[in-house]
Symmetry: C2
Subunit: 683 residues, 2 copies
Amino acid sequence: MRTLIATLSLLAATTPAAALAQNARPSQTATSPDGSLVLTVSTDNDQRPTWSLSRKGKLLIAPSKLGFLMADRVGLQRGFAIEGAEKASADSQWELPWGERRFVRDRHNEMLVRFRQHESWGGHALNVRFRLFDDGIGFRYELPEQAGLKTAKIIDEVTEFDIAAPGTAWWITAGEWNRYEQIYQKTPIDAVATAHTPMTMRLDDGTHLAFHEAALVDYSGMWLKRAEGRLFRSTLSPSSRGPRVIRELPFNTPWRTIRITDDAAGLVESDLELNLNEPNKLGDVSWVKPMKYIGIWWGMIRGDWSWAEGPNHGATTARTKQYIDFAAKHGFGGVLVEGWNKGWESNWFGHGDAYSFTEAYPDFDLKAVTDHARKKGVTLIGHHETGGNIAVYEAQLEDAMKLYGDLGVQAVKTGYVADAGGIIAPGDAPGETRMEWHDGQRQVQHHLKVVETAAKYKVAVNPHEPVKDTGLRRTYPNWVAREGARGMEYNSWSAFANGGPDHEPTLVYTRMLSGPMDYTPGVLSLVGGEGRPHASTLAKQLGLYLAIYSPIQMAADFIENLEAHPRELEFIKVVPADWADSRLIAGEVGDYAIFARKDRNSADWYVGGVNDGTERTLTLGFDFLDAGKTYTATIYKDGEGATYLTEARHKIAYETIKVKKGDSYKLWLAPGGGAAIRLHPGK
Amino acid sequence: MRTLIATLSLLAATTPAAALAQNARPSQTATSPDGSLVLTVSTDNDQRPTWSLSRKGKLLIAPSKLGFLMADRVGLQRGFAIEGAEKASADSQWELPWGERRFVRDRHNEMLVRFRQHESWGGHALNVRFRLFDDGIGFRYELPEQAGLKTAKIIDEVTEFDIAAPGTAWWITAGEWNRYEQIYQKTPIDAVATAHTPMTMRLDDGTHLAFHEAALVDYSGMWLKRAEGRLFRSTLSPSSRGPRVIRELPFNTPWRTIRITDDAAGLVESDLELNLNEPNKLGDVSWVKPMKYIGIWWGMIRGDWSWAEGPNHGATTARTKQYIDFAAKHGFGGVLVEGWNKGWESNWFGHGDAYSFTEAYPDFDLKAVTDHARKKGVTLIGHHETGGNIAVYEAQLEDAMKLYGDLGVQAVKTGYVADAGGIIAPGDAPGETRMEWHDGQRQVQHHLKVVETAAKYKVAVNPHEPVKDTGLRRTYPNWVAREGARGMEYNSWSAFANGGPDHEPTLVYTRMLSGPMDYTPGVLSLVGGEGRPHASTLAKQLGLYLAIYSPIQMAADFIENLEAHPRELEFIKVVPADWADSRLIAGEVGDYAIFARKDRNSADWYVGGVNDGTERTLTLGFDFLDAGKTYTATIYKDGEGATYLTEARHKIAYETIKVKKGDSYKLWLAPGGGAAIRLHPGK
């Protein structure tokens, strides 16, 4: 036996639920500012709240349910009527202290729909706020203060997205051992399993979609689980406590978002999630400094050096000073040092019990190196690997951040190397632990705690094995970057472990939609551990600085290898990590991506990006340049015959030409290739 | 940063984990009795326990991980070594008190593999017991008593099944609003989302697989979540408590099973899960009586009568006596009466607060009808709809079952009409409730409590909106049937709501692999509510008695409609609900299914089954008949021009012929058709 539909027809109109249905307000609708998106909010035959969306007159999201499963009461799913709706509009501009662009326009229409559940179903009030932009939609649940529901114990959120038309999806599996660090899959939409967001789709009619969320605060990360066909339903990252989210009322959920555009460039250039985040809460953040950096790291990743103390210890005082000197000489802002602190001897992966975040190994003189760095105008980039043990880390957090603040360390890379479900959080009693997820409510709370504590000491944060980015850098601009995808390091562990050359042109349209990534480009040697080749040409290593944005951008290779490529090093030295504007001037999801980006601190433009495994020739138009100026274009491109497949990956060509607005340039991209161009007005 | 593989290579062989790897015993292998299946159990580079399986020299399950995520400690996933393995074999035969066949052969090889986790990962002991049959495999985890782990708080079980070859899958989505009551989907294996079991597959090479579990006791039901490609991973039905399973050690999990056969018949005829269940715990179960039954039910489903008291109340004393008289006249063993008890007035779907399971409505004299039934040699089939509220039901359970036992009620149909996650269980404090799943640990405990309580009073149980069947009828033979799939009733609510005629020939190879289903065939009028037509011919209604087994088999239509079809009623009267043997003599998954079944109480054979929407002609061979006997075959088959699509669905043809072993018979099956044949030795 099954549903209320049947039940209702049998019990007839004398039941409260049927009476409720008769009293329900009709559907509510709203449109995007340009009218292209039309939202309809309604209730179905079971009095379930539903939403649907059409674009340019075509159904895009078929009626999809909204609601929650609760741990201690019948779910907030059925028996709802619309009590009312309120509308608003906004058109404003705001400024990013650093980023892909300086100014962001926020133009949207808003509709708040107030649902009320019939008494026999709990009588709960549930509001849903929708914001419609021309390039997408966001909505969030708002649970107002109300009698009878003080604490929401949410077992799961069951928000549906029923995609009305077929197409292709790019996605990674949620809930995996390996967190977000998987090769992206490209499948039909109806072959997705359970995906992390952002999940990107191209419908057969060319419409581009990217599903994600904004402002993930004190809540669990949303996964999208395909139920059947093209129907997706949210499921929240798990918790050891049963309810995946526990919150006191009133509260709002994160925004559930879809970027919706005609093409790949529209997806990449959208600021939808940033617009749905709260403004900067930190005030003056001039101490957050975009920079490029080098580090004592690639040697450990390659297996030449060790994190732990010993004969091959990477983080020695001497080597750190050597790196600081190199950084100062070449204008790098920072030097990352991993393995400087005590605790790496033990089985740290997924454990982290032994870590001290304030005590250095004897062969690493923290005071001496930070003094040396300060003198040289360079910052140390600190490092806090936790092994996923936030119980140990949180106990030391204040002291650890204060230490860095006192020493003038401007940024810290944190790490949470543990399996999915392997975050070790403090339990309810001393000595007890609770296992949590990298994107569960507890770890979401943890990340913000780290960011806020760091901000007190003017330290920027770059977490690895993080929670995904949901635009919180707008609110907390010291949250500068993160990992959260398969990074360069995999190339060191096995040949072409990054899924070959398709990986980066896929990241641009998936992971990178969420925000900056510490991908660590600049392995100019193109060699990983035990001589393993990278699936990249040399020019692609430069193109990565344009394709994959981070305000703290690494040059990952050994400094000896950087120095061995003086012309490439010259490009890495000048390419900015902070932009006035960014545009995708050529690209398709998973195939290639060429950006034009304008320096925030000069009149220079930079153009460049990455290719997949298929060689191609593009005609780049320089329409974006300022009229009336002539630019000197310094071009780094794949040399003739270059290919990622052989030693010809090292073949690079250089060219210097003059260009002006309206000119075009024919660019050949090698298999696994890339390109980088500096455009400087005048000579 | 990522995995232990990398970490280990960097930390080198001085680490405990690496030392452990060097000490690990090599892989363990075992084979099925006929040698066709070869199992390999090992550990991978992360010291994760793995298993793989090949069949006839071909890889079937690629190396797949084993393990658990825990709520209060690092998971039982990594850092394991094999301590040892023990082998055993068995070949025995046992008897089913009722069922599809009388004798079951249990022939298997067994291997118990003992894993031990390195101290730095917890030091836990984890055993896995494998049983290899010629037609499949089962394995379960066994957690022995051990220091340091008294209570297992299992957040999830992460057992993998990496299917090595492509094929087609038949499946329903797990975790849905509608529990198990969905239309089966047929997709490529790599387009499955998260599936309930049984999930059936046909690989491109013709190998048939069915994934399921056996002996689900005090644990949560297993769902199979596709991670990517053809890699599936178990996920357990949720719990409001966080850990999806909480168990004191020592304990064993249910068996994870795969039937593996050359053809569809092999799948259907396998007794794999029954063999993995414990023997009968109830002793003499002669009081469990296979029967056919009618009921005061279809009238409510159609909307003609009401469950609640009122002018159209179904369950009146007078109507019940009328039904008892009809049952007695035609040899039906039971009469189901729904809506006899107080509490249906309120919003019972997903609530159930108002139900009394001992108090009848004033117009239903329970004592009078049970007296009347006893006099007529018929049993009342009781009814306990809970609306999913097991807090209310469990409080009355003992009294309710005692009442039925005292009155001679031999069976009860229970019901749990609520959304997924909508089971209302008692909380930790009085007045508190916890929401649970239909197949979560708490509800699994509940079902067994109901079955055991019922057994005390010699009552058989037939739950609707149940947990899936995992073969527990072997251990508790009073657990006679259940719903757990979309049943006949959907035809009443909207036209062809059962997914059209493909539904039943899909059920045979999916849901029915788990055990008996109370599908409620026999709607001879072929008409649901408001005149809605069924996607079935008249002959198919008879074929269902052969295709979909239950020891309590309903004739669901109004008795007036049964009487209006005297020849069909005659078949329903004679067809057994208890068999000596059952064979699929023709069929393909999702297309058609024709069974030959031998009566347990006579020398009669019955042949029949169901077709999908495509007409077809089969040549049935009577090889199964006893040699030297001549049988009178009474044939009910689709009439010329019959089709489920029009009023021609009522066209039926009758034929009587003589047949003997070795004869064959050409049978035409209409679109949406079926057939039924009684084979009686002599005249």
